[in-house]
C-alpha cells in the first residue's frame, strides 16, 4: 500500500514526465539524472560519509538495489511504465513452496506478527527475525496495540471465503509486496530473505486459518 496520496499525482505530472525521460536514460547509463533524480549521486557521497566507520559487513546495507533506487528517486510514485517494470522484476523473485502448500501454523504466525525484532544493530546476531505486522496493521480485534500505516487485516481470511487462491496471493504479497504494487511501503520479506518460507506460511495461516483470532 503506497503511502503517497493519489492527490499528489496531478501536481507532480510534469516533474514525472521529465523524470521518466531521465530515469530511462539513467538506466541506459547515459545522461545525468534530472528532476527528482537530481542530486542523487551527491546523496550517495553523504551516505558513504555517514557510515564511514561501519564495518564491511554492515556497509552492504548501504547498497540499494534497482527498485530501491527508483522508489527513492520517484518518492514512491513511479510513472506507470516504470511501475510495471518494477512489478515484473519483483514478481520474478517469488518462490512458492515446492508442494504449493502455503498454510503453516497460525499460532506461530501470531508470534511473528507480534515480533518486531531482527536485523537491527541492537539485536544479537542470532535473533529470530519477526514480521512485526502489528506495527502497521490491525489484525485480531483483541489486540488494541496496532498501527495504521497499512490497511486493517481483521477477518482477512473470512472475507475472502478462506479461498486457496487468495491464500496463495497472500503468500506472494508477503514474499514480495512490490510484485503487485510498485514502491509499496511494505517490506519485501521473502525477496530479502528476512522471513523464511516457513515463517511466511505461518503468517498466511494466521490470516487464513478459520481458528485464527483474526477470523473471529
Amino acid at each position: 500500500m503506497s503511502l503517497q496520496s493519489n492527490a499528489n499525482r496531478p501536481a507532480r505530472y510534469a516533474a514525472i514526465i521529465v523524470a521518466l525521460v531521465a530515469a530511462t536514460s539513467a538506466l541506459a547509463e547515459s545522461a545525468t539524472p534530472k528532476g527528482p533524480a537530481e542530486g542523487t549521486a551527491g546523496v550517495e557521497r553523504y551516505v558513504r560519509e555517514m557510515w564511514a566507520s561501519s564495518d564491511a559487513k554492515w556497509k552492504d546495507r548501504l547498497k540499494q538495489d534497482e527498485t530501491q533506487v527508483l522508489c527513492s528517486r520517484f518518492r514512491n510514485n513511479p510513472p506507470e511504465p516504470l511501475a510495471q517494470s518494477i512489478q515484473t522484476r519483483e514478481a520474478a523473485t517469488i518462490v512458492f513452496p515446492k508442494d504449493n502448500q502455503v498454510l503453516g501454523r497460525w499460532q506461530e504466525g501470531e508470534k511473528l506478527a507480534q515480533n518486531g525484532r531482527g536485523g537491527q544493530f541492537s539485536d544479537a546476531p542470532d535473533t529470530v527475525n519477526g514480521g512485526n505486522c502489528y506495527a502497521c496493521h490491525q489484525m485480531a480485534k483483541s489486540e488494541l496495540s496496532f498501527g495504521t500505516l497499512g490497511p486493517s487485516l481483521s477477518e482477512y481470511g473470512k472475507i475472502r471465503n478462506f479461498s486457496a487462491e487468495a491464500a496463495r496471493d497472500t503468500f506472494a504479497k508477503i514474499y514480495n509486496s512490490q510484485a503487485t504494487l510498485a514502491c509499496s511501503s511494505m517490506p519485501r520479506f521473502g525477496a530479502h530473505g528476512f522471513l523464511t518460507e516457513q515463517q511466511i506460511k505461518d503468517v498466511v495461516a494466521y490470516l487464513f486459518d478459520p481458528d485464527s483470532p483474526i477470523n473471529k
Binding site: L3, Q4, G39, T40, G42, V43, Y46, V47, E49, M50, W51, A52, S53, S54, W58, K59, R61, L62, K63, Q64, T67, Q68, C71, S72, R75, N76, G119, Q120, F121, S122, Y134, A135, C136, L144, S145, F146, G147, T148, L149, S185, P187, R188, H192, F194
Partner: protein, 273 residues
C-alpha cells in the same frame, strides 16, 4: 427496606461496571493523549538535571588551553546562547561547514579548548551510571531558546545545499526492509502500534511539534536525548548500520527537518514516552 438497599447496591454495581467498561473501551488515542499530558510536567522533568550539569560544563575550563566554552560562537556571537538553538543547523564560515549544535560543540571543544574529544564521544549517549557531556550541554543550550521560534531562513547557499541533501536522504529507501524516513513520516495521523507518527514531509504543525520538543527526556530510556540520538535510533529501526555521530548527512537531515518546523515554538527539554 432491605430489598431497596439491595437493589440500590445492584444498581450502583451496574453503574460502576458500565463506567469501568466505558474506560476500558476508551479510544486508545485519547488514552495516549492523557498519558502524554500526565508526564508533561516541567517540575518533574529529570532533564532539568541535564540543564544544570550542562551549565557547569559550559563554564568548566578544560582541554590543553584550560579554557571554558564561554567564547564558543554558536552562531549568535561568542558566548551568546539565547536563541542560538532556534537557528541551528546553520553555516559557519570559520569551519566552512553547515553544523548542528552537537557538531558545533565538538568543533568548539577541539578549537576553543583543544580538548581531546575521545572521552566525550565515548559517552555521546548517556547510559545508567554514565552521563553524557553532549546531552547535558545540549539540554542547557537548547533550553536557552525555550519560548522562542525556529528561524531557518536558508540564507546561505551551503544551507540550501544541505537542505536538498537532507530531503533526498529523507526519501532514500534501503536495507533489509526497504524503509526510508518517509515510510513512517509521510502520512497524516498514522501510528506505529500506539505511537503517533508526525508527517515530516511538509512544513507545519507536525514538524513544529516534533522539532520544538527535542531535546527531550525519554521516559522509556530514562535519559535525556538529542536529535542526533533520535536519528540514530530511526536508522536502527530502519535496519541500517549506526550512523556516525556528527556526520554531515545527519546535519543535512536536521536542517531539512528544522526548515519544516520554521516558525514553530520551542519548549525544551520536553518529556516524552
Amino acid at each position: 427496606m432491605k430489598r431497596s438497599v439491595a437493589s440500590a447496591l445492584v444498581m450502583t454495581l451496574g453503574v460502576l461496571c458500565w463506567v469501568t467498561g466505558g474506560l476500558n473501551a476508551a479510544d486508545p488515542e485519547d488514552e495516549i493523549r492523557r498519558y502524554r499530558e500526565m508526564i508533561d510536567d516541567p517540575m518533574a522533568n529529570p532533564a532539568y538535571l541535564n540543564v544544570d550539569r550542562g551549565e557547569a560544563l559550559w563554564n568548566l575550563p578544560r582541554g590543553e588551553k584550560n579554557a571554558s566554552l564561554a567564547t564558543c560562537d554558536l552562531g549568535k556571537g561568542p558566548g551568546t546562547l539565547e536563541g542560538a538553538y532556534a537557528e541551528l543547523p546553520r553555516y559557519f564560515a570559520d569551519a566552512d561547514k553547515v553544523m548542528d549544535l552537537e557538531q558545533r560543540l565538538l568543533w568548539c571543544m577541539e578549537t576553543v579548548q583543544a580538548l581531546d574529544t575521545h572521552d566525550v564521544l565515548s559517552r555521546k549517549f548517556g547510559a545508567p551510571g554514565s552521563t553524557s557531556d553532549m546531552e547535558d550541554l545540549v539540554a542547557y543550550i537548547a533550553n536557552k531558546s525555550s519560548g522562542m521560534t525556529y528561524h531557518i531562513p536558508l540564507d546561505d547557499v551551503q544551507e540550501r545545499d544541505a537542505y536538498a541533501i537532507g530531503e533526498e536522504l529523507f526519501y532514500r529507501r534501503g536495507s533489509l526492509l526497504d524503509f526510508s524516513c518517509a515510510t513512517c513520516h509521510s502520512a497524516d495521523g498514522a501510528r506505529i502500534r500506539t505511537t503517533q507518527l508526525p508527517n515530516l514531509t511538509k512544513p507545519g504543525g507536525d514538524a513544529r511539534n516534533t522539532m520544538g520538543s527535542w531535546p527531550t527526556y525519554r521516559v522509556s530510556q530514562s535519559q535525556m536525548r538529542t536529535m542526533q540520538n533520535r536519528l540514530w535510533d530511526c536508522y536502527r529501526q530502519m535496519r541500517m548500520p549506526p550512523p556516525d555521530y556528527g556526520s554531515a548527512g545527519l546535519t543535512a537531515l536536521m536542517i531539512y527537518l528544522a526548515k519544516q518546523a520554521d516558525g514553530g515554538s520551542i519548549n525544551v527539554p520536553s518529556i516524552k514516552r
